[in-house]
């Protein structure tokens, strides 16, 4: 197969995945030009990543919920409520930060299981069950913060989750003003990725699988190396990798692994593709529903923690509309409302696209009303693109 043909085949098979990255790059490019480079500055990118964090983790959980053909509207106020609980646990109950975090993550799982019990055991449509959750957690958040109003969080360790950066080695004479550990981590990521790719390719070739041709393979490695390198360089230019970024990376890598490599992930997508067939194959649709909503609840708790840490406080309106931002991020990231389609990396990119739009338009001082309209157009365009590329790929049976 010639280089051009192979490239074309790859493009047509993965157009939906590639298009998302292209869209992100185009958006970054446009804002970089319109803001005279302010958008791409180290400080703004770090800020952008931290702004994306609490939506990105929700979008990851929401991806799986939508994949199994449900929805969760309750996660925004659940995040706000659990953030408030974390703040109260530290300020009023005197719990150390790590215990408060564990406690709240546990509550998140319980809240998810409550939803999944309504959905899986009682057969209540997720839309209705989680709408009730949306109301309930909103009330709970107001109750929790009524006595005190905004709860200020003073625990430095907790606040660092939303504002802090990973430590760096001191001045060693080279690369002043840059975060050396971040660069080293970037280098490490590149080495791990490329060596992993090379080993996987060798193994697959040995076993007789079709692999990418050498030029395409090299091109892919060069592209990924450049991408990680540039991101690491930009982050290192300010204060390095933020803890929020570390958490996003861990969550996305973990969920990516679970969804692509494990039996559980396979079962989640099987349930999304055809619940009846999955059930007949011995997959418990109920069990998968419980697992997916429990994970959503836990990620809602994490989102609440990230948001409270970022604001250094729990507010009475924390979490408002987070759920819709997360759902929009998932759809922009290629999740299909019909179920069974979508992946967590896509949803992260979707969250970054939506956050970039807000961030970039804010820098350009565009009226908030127009911002909503632009974001609406991007969401609509993403879904239209998704539907048309999917239809074209199908052969009538």
């Amino acid at each position: 197969m010639s280089f051009i043909n192979e490239a074309r085949k790859l493009l047509s098979e993965n157009i939906r995945d590639y298009a998302m990255f292209v869209a992100l790059f185009v958006i970054i490019g446009i804002f970089t030009v319109t803001t005279d480079g302010l958008f791409i500055s180290s400080r703004n990118i770090v800020n952008l990543v931290n702004q994306t964090g609490y939506i990105a983790v929700l979008a990851v959980g929401m991806t799986l919920v939508i994949v199994i053909r449900h929805i969760d509207l309750s996660v925004g106020f659940l995040a706000g409520f659990l953030g408030a609980i974390a703040a109260i646990a530290m300020t009023s109950w005197g719990l150390p930060a790590y215990l408060a975090i564990l406690l709240v993550l546990g509550f998140g799982i319980l809240a998810g299981l409550l939803t999944s019990t309504l959905v899986a055991e009682l057969g209540i449509p997720a839309f209705v069950a989680t709408l009730a959750g949306w109301l309930g957690y909103r009330g709970a958040l107001q109750l929790a913060t009524r006595a005190t109003g905004t709860i200020i969080i003073s625990d430095e360790g907790f606040v660092a989750i939303g504002n802090g950066f990973i430590p760096d080695i001191g001045d060693i004479g080279i690369l002043p003003e840059t975060h050396k550990i971040t660069l080293l981590l970037g280098l490490l990521a590149i080495i791990l990725f490329v060596s992993g790719e090379i080993m996987a390719r060798g193994r697959m070739r040995e076993q007789g699988f079709e692999v990418l041709s050498t030029p395409i393979f090299v091109l892919k490695q060069v592209f990924v190396t450049a991408l990680i390198g540039v991101i690491a360089w930009i982050l290192a230019g300010y204060q390095g990798l933020s803890w929020t970024a570390v958490i996003i990376l861990i969550v996305v890598l973990f969920y990516h692994f679970i969804t692509t490599r494990t039996v559980l992930g396979r079962h989640i997508y099987a349930v999304g593709g055809n619940p009846e067939a999955a059930e007949l194959s011995g997959i418990s649709v109920k069990r998968i529903t419980h697992v997916v909503f429990a994970s959503m609840g836990m990620l809602a708790a994490l989102s609440g923690i990230l948001f409270a840490a970022r604001l250094r406080s729990a507010t009475t309106t924390a979490g408002t509309l987070f759920e819709l931002d997360a759902i929009a991020a998932a759809f922009v990231g290629g999740v299909s409302a019909a179920g069974g389609v979508g992946n967590v990396v896509g949803s992260l990119i979707g969250a970054l696209i939506m956050a970039s739009l807000t961030n970039g338009m804010n820098l350009m001082q565009i009226d908030i009303s127009y911002q909503y309209i632009v974001r609406a157009l991007v969401l609509a365009a993403a879904v239209i693109f998704d539907v048309t590329t999917r239809r074209k790929g199908l052969i009538k049976g």
Partner: protein, 300 residues
């Protein structure tokens, strides 16, 4: 993988050359060795259902039906709507519990509490609507619910992609099913190919009996021929099959014997013989009740 019943492999995969395996065991559905010694293999039916009764409220769906399927036999099951054929097969596949009657597999009485239970004992079902997840590839569908695992850490079980792919390829090869790539998503396959994948899935795991419920109902003429050819291929390789169809010509073409049900009773149990017109006339007469002379009738 050990201790995980969902991922028990069927055939040894360690053998470097699948061709050799095939020569040693020409019939992947070859007769099990552990059946009772008192009967010879040929005489013990692989499945026997004895006077199965099933009521739904006031409706007697099955009024004492006997059915025997012998090794390497293709048994057609026909009847008008509501004759009870689907109910009978749902009893056999574990979806329904019979009110009365027994099920024996290779001479041993069994009870199925659910379809998975029946599957574990070698009863596989192929559905009219394929029962596939269209968003997943061929390999994932063949192994759905029985994924091969290479590493298990508590609830996290890492799949063995290579083994599942090799196994899928060899099943498809064995059944002479032609699908361009086993990594193709099922939504990109034609109807006939999808049904072939569903049949491949039913045969991939040491099935004793394959039940096909209207396997051709949703297919085009060309695809029907494809599926019938597949049934013949399975039979040639030693499989035991029950096929439900309202298309009498399908039954005529591939079955050795057929059972006609009418209003929850067995009204005929005959070998397939004669030309298709006589055959059709005879079957229709039993189906609509114009003829009712079955000797072994256990009607209530």
């Amino acid at each position: 993988m050990v201790g995980n019943p969902a991922t028990v492999p069927v055939r040894e995969l360690d053998d470097p050359d699948p061709e050799v395996v095939r020569e040693d065991h020409p019939y992947p559905f070859a007769i099990q060795e552990d059946i009772s010694m008192s009967h010879s293999v040929e005489n013990t039916p692989v499945v026997e259902m004895r006077s199965i009764k099933k009521n739904f409220a006031a409706v007697q769906a099955l009024r004492g039906v006997d059915l025997a399927l012998h090794h390497n036999e293709v048994l057609g099951l026909v009847g008008d709507n509501a004759a009870g054929k689907s109910t009978l097969m749902k009893v056999l596949s574990g979806a329904y519990h019979p009110d009365e009657g027994q099920i024996l597999i290779e001479g041993k009485q069994v009870h199925f509490s659910n379809p998975m239970d029946a599957r574990r004992q070698g009863i596989e079902m192929v559905y009219q609507d394929y029962a596939l997840a269209n968003n997943l590839d061929v390999v994932a569908n063949v192994f759905m619910g029985r994924e091969a695992v290479q590493l298990s850490l508590g609830p996290i079980r890492v799949m063995d992609f290579w083994r599942m792919e090799q196994e899928t390829k060899s099943v498809l090869d064995r059944l002479k099913i032609n699908i361009p790539s086993v990594r193709q998503k099922v939504e990109r396959l034609s109807g006939g190919q999808r049904q072939a994948v569903a049949i491949a899935r039913a045969t991939a795991f040491d099935a004793k009996v394959i039940i096909m419920d209207e396997p051709t109902a949703a297919l085009s003429v060309a695809a029907i021929e494809q599926v019938l050819e597949l049934v013949r291929e399975l039979k040639a390789q030693g499989a035991s099959i029950i096929i439900i169809s309202h298309r009498l010509e399908d039954i005529y073409q591939v079955s050795d014997r057929m059972i006609v049900l009418r209003q929850g009773r067995k009204v005929s149990d005959m070998s397939i013989e004669g030309d298709i017109h006589d055959f059709r006339e005879r079957v229709v007469a039993y189906m609509i009740g114009a003829r009712d002379d079955f000797a072994d009738n256990t009607a209530t």
